[in-house]
């Protein structure tokens, strides 16, 4: 249904046949929109039908403008709508890869595709091509990560993600990440509630409340301080050098988005993608499926600086408020301009409460932050922590609770 066939004539005349045709086509268009992450409900469909009936269908340009206002609900929708509309109704090619979904061909991004496979066939092996070539200390893959016995979970929690090769263990690791996100969330929220106590008298409300006592102030109303809940914004490096860690972190992010009331997630390699909506899908496999469709441009190097620049410019005002912790998960191997990275980190640090940089590489023996990228970024980072085991993620919780 997604590939645009010959568009039915939108000219009035032969009302019966045409309207049936148009109704079908409209339903298909709504499906296409939904597949492309538009929030379109029944009432929008009805309104659209009404628009078609009331003469908006006479000119494609007019219909497009009308539908655009009706169906788009955010800037991202607004920008891709014209392409989708033209592709569907006018049979033109979509210029960008704004991806008519359902087609798995859209997933030609190597790293994300791998991730998806990784999540889908839980019985499959972790493909060796996911190993970053060269910088991998030759390790015996048969012997590692297989911890049996009663204290299995604990052991797992301390295993470097790189060494978790067994699919069952990967699944277990994912579960821990989700559980961790949940516990982090509950503790943070409880703290939030406990602190809420009135500290100032609200005169106006006190009078209101006491009108029933003839104005004698018997019950006092206090003003409460409203606390903003902590917001967590995660920026995950999904470049080749991180590929071993991304799937676990994605699962972690998925858990966090699921559980936190206020969280946002972005993915970057050579460019930045906002993935919160896709990740909010309850089913992680479907979430990854949607993710791979959103991925644009082939993975390769990591342009952290440019990605941060995009973030600062287009997203920061919306997703960052005064109680926001930005969590960057990256190894800091910058293939772009390191100076730009430093500059953008400075800009980011002005905006948010804390920046935590999680680097899986810290867990490696003999690793020192010598790459130009990480060197430029470090002065602006409040917490620079390892993130190679689940335990290291768990260690973050007290830090986040203090914010």
């Amino acid at each position: 249904m997604s590939t645009a066939g010959p568009a039915p004539a939108l000219v009035p005349g032969e009302p019966e046949a045409v309207s049936a045709l148009v109704a079908d086509k409209l339903a298909a268009f709504l499906r296409t929109l939904r597949d492309n992450a538009f929030a379109v409900g029944l009432s929008e469909g009805q309104d659209a039908a009404m628009l078609l009936a009331s003469g908006y269908g006479d000119r494609p340009g007019l219909l497009r403008a009308a539908f655009k206002h009706l169906f788009a609900a955010r800037k991202a929708d607004w920008e891709v709508f014209d392409g989708l509309f033209d592709a569907f109704w006018l049979g033109k090619r979509v210029r960008s890869r704004s991806a008519i979904s359902g087609s798995t061909r859209a997933a030609n991004n190597p790293s994300l595709k791998d991730l998806r496979n990784d999540a889908t066939n839980s019985g499959g092996d972790t493909a060796p091509d996911q190993m970053p070539a060269g910088d991998e200390p030759g390790e015996d893959r048969d012997g590692v990560g297989r911890m049996e016995g009663a204290s299995r979970t604990d052991n797992l929690a301390e295993t470097d993600f790189r060494k978790i090769a067994d699919p069952a263990q990967i699944a277990a690791a994912h579960d821990i990440a989700a559980r961790l996100a949940r516990t982090m969330r509950t503790r943070l929220t409880r703290r939030d509630l406990a602190r809420r106590r009135g500290y100032r008298l609200d005169l106006r409300r006190t009078i209101h409340r006491n009108i029933s006592h003839g104005g004698v102030p018997i019950t006092l109303v206090k003003r409460r301080r409203k606390e903003k809940p902590l917001r967590l914004v995660m920026l995950l490096d999904a470049s080749g050098s991180m590929s071993l860690y991304t799937s676990v972190f994605l699962r972690f992010i998925h858990g966090v988005l699921d559980e936190f009331r206020e969280a946002d997630a972005f993915l970057f390699h050579t460019r930045l993608a906002h993935v919160s909506d896709a990740m909010k899908e309850k089913d992680p496999v479907r979430a990854l499926d949607r993710l791979s469709m959103m991925a644009q441009g082939a993975g390769g190097g990591t342009r952290i600086g440019e990605s941060l620049q995009t973030f600062n410019r287009w997203h920061a005002a919306r997703v960052i408020h005064s109680r926001t912790c930005v969590m960057i998960v990256s190894d800091g191997y910058e293939t772009g301009d390191a100076a730009l990275l430093g500059q953008e980190m400075a800009r980011l640090s002005r905006r948010c409460r804390r920046i935590a940089w999680l680097n899986p590489m810290i867990g490696w023996e003999g690793y020192a932050p010598e790459a130009a990228g990480i060197k430029a970024a470090l002065p602006h980072v409040d917490l620079y922590a390892p993130a190679h085991t689940l335990q290291s993620l768990a260690d973050l919780e007290p830090y986040l609770a203090k914010l």
Binding site: A39, D47, M50, L51, E79, I211, K226, R318
Partner: protein
């Protein structure tokens, strides 16, 4: 009363608002579908102006609700005039020796009700334009409440009963994107993204709004502002800033930007609002930009 798109475009122009083509469609859809219009865009692109222009189009009253964090029902919808109620109670006690029913009827009558913007908007005879400005600054709870109001257009006041809308207002919401709005609210609304105007439109805006700005100067100013927006700035100048700057240039009797590069550079303070931006647009940069546009 439903206006055609051409009529709307005409009246918008009459009101001094130079709209892009799609906005006229949005406004006619608002009438047709009875949906609110959600405007998003950078600060300073003229979102609030749209509501003002819309009020002019319908020659309706503009009722504005400015949202802020902590905005609640008593500031947005209605409130009882407590002080007056108290006075009334006490006066009544002295006079009548207190018949509770009578006092109650009296103090919970409309006379003691303070209308706030939302209530005012649904109680007008002629549908007004209700501008809910910067809705993203209000709390999520308020957003949910707003949603209810926007779908039913009725309000229940416990002491008075349900107040149904006398007329359905034209509702315009604006958002700066400081917080993600709920999907429910977005779905309820028509969406229009307001972008910075292109050179041609901005020049026309300058000509319409700034007295004494000629066609060639307006075009130069618009081009200059466009190239300044492309520079990497912390605060990108909006349309209001452009108008300020144009006003300053006209006031200083500049006819051609190329003739008076000094004045141009000195008046850039109308556009650039942070120290960093000021430093970034040094004299050399200004001259380079001027060379391109003038």
């Amino acid at each position: 009363m439903s206006l055609s798109r051409d009529q709307i475009a005409e009246r918008l122009a009459g009101a001094g608002y130079i709209a892009d083509g799609e906005l006229a469609v949005a406004i006619s859809l608002m009438d047709l579908l009875k949906r609110p219009l959600l405007l998003e865009g950078e600060a300073g692109v003229g979102k609030t102006e749209v509501a003002k222009a819309l009020a002019a189009v319908h020659s309706a009253e503009l009722i504005r609700l400015q949202c802020y964090e902590g905005l609640d029902q008593s500031a947005a919808l209605y409130e009882w005039n407590y002080q007056r109620q108290l006075l009334a109670i006490q006066a009544h006690q002295v006079e009548a020796g207190g018949k509770a029913g009578a006092i109650e009827d009296q103090i919970f009558s409309e006379k003691y009700l303070l209308e706030r913007p939302l209530l005012a908007a649904i109680r007008r005879e002629k549908p007004p334009v209700l501008l809910i400005d910067e809705v993203d600054r209000a709390d999520e709870e308020f957003e949910a409440f707003l949603l209810e109001l926007l779908s039913d257009f009725q309000v229940s006041i416990p002491e008075l009963g349900t107040i149904t809308a006398v007329s359905i207002p034209h509702v315009v919401l604006t958002s700066n994107g400081t917080r993600e709005l709920s999907d429910a609210l977005r779905r309820r609304c028509l969406y229009h993204y307001v972008d910075y105007p292109d050179v041609d439109r901005e020049a026309r805006i300058i000509m319409a709004r700034v007295e004494g700005a000629g066609a060639s100067l307006s075009l130069q100013i618009a081009r200059m502002v466009e190239s300044i927006r492309k520079e990497d700035l912390r605060k990108v100048p909006g349309v209001a800033e452009t108008l300020d700057w144009a006003g300053a240039l006209v006031g200083l009797d500049v006819r051609d930007l190329a003739d008076r590069p000094e004045t141009v550079h000195e008046t850039l303070m109308c556009l650039l609002k942070t120290h960093e931006d000021k430093a970034r647009l040094s004299r050399e940069v200004t001259e380079r930009l001027l060379g391109k546009v003038a």
